[in-house]
Symmetry: C2
Amino acid sequence: MTRCAVDVALVHYPIRSRTGEIVTTSVTNLDIHDIARAGRTYGVRAYHVVTPLEIQRRLVEGVAAHWVDGPLRLRGPERAEALSLVRTAASLADVVRSIRDEEGVEPLVVATSGRPRGRPTVGFEDLRARILSGPTPVALCFGTGWGLADDAFDRADLLLDPVMKGGGYNYLSVRVAVGIILDRLLGDR
Amino acid sequence: MTRCAVDVALVHYPIRSRTGEIVTTSVTNLDIHDIARAGRTYGVRAYHVVTPLEIQRRLVEGVAAHWVDGPLRLRGPERAEALSLVRTAASLADVVRSIRDEEGVEPLVVATSGRPRGRPTVGFEDLRARILSGPTPVALCFGTGWGLADDAFDRADLLLDPVMKGGGYNYLSVRVAVGIILDRLLGDR
């Protein structure tokens, strides 16, 4: 079987705030590192940090370059390998466009949510089978803040089941949720 | 089936440094939060932050209390619920003692490592079955820095398989590794 390319997108807009407004969240240094490391561990093709704020995109690129080409490269070769996955994009549409341009085919855009959203969902086993059988690339989209806004779900082809399907307490950090979801979809069995 | 109690211990001593020395690492605010949130999601009994440095234990207790009893409680009820799992201990031996005192039985101490250690390991499915059939409590021990020192493995009853058993790139952050391991051992199927 030829596994398809899997990209991760960490979305900072459009995001829901605690009070339900649509906001742009700030990028964080640790999300860059932790998600790049998990992405590299599970063989992700690229990790896109998505924000409309150019200054924040420059910040992300600067952090990655510092480890990939800069003074910290030799201190942390594993980290350089992880951070070489990092890219930035102004919007989810730009992420989709770049995957299409590079892979030559429209990716399947899969949104994630920790909470039920009143929309049909795809199960982990179904998506895993789809990824393993290729060839359509998959873009896994994760929300920061209080999750992706409805507009982001409208643009996705599929919504993945929540990690805790039975409901109850569900308040993982996005870093940890990305790791768990990559393990379920791409981990060795 | 009665699932046994599962505790998580995040160990800051004895830890290996990048260069192989035995060191005490610093606690970090994000490890407190992310691991407490994952612990609460998967029904962990308690989350022990282990460091011999009293001032760091006070810091951890202060952070947790700030959300559990303090001014931030009402702003983040989910976070208060997670941080109420946080405890501190001066050593792994103290963690074992407190579990024994509270649960009335010696816990099974399970060490984790991202790299092979030349010791026999227990597989995820075996440990999952053991946890689900109870009643012996399990203490899952995670290293910070470059992993638990040999001394910590000597005190453990079992060593868990690495997350990436096939080898290759293996450089997850401890926060993400805890989430993945809890999902494999305790997650819904």
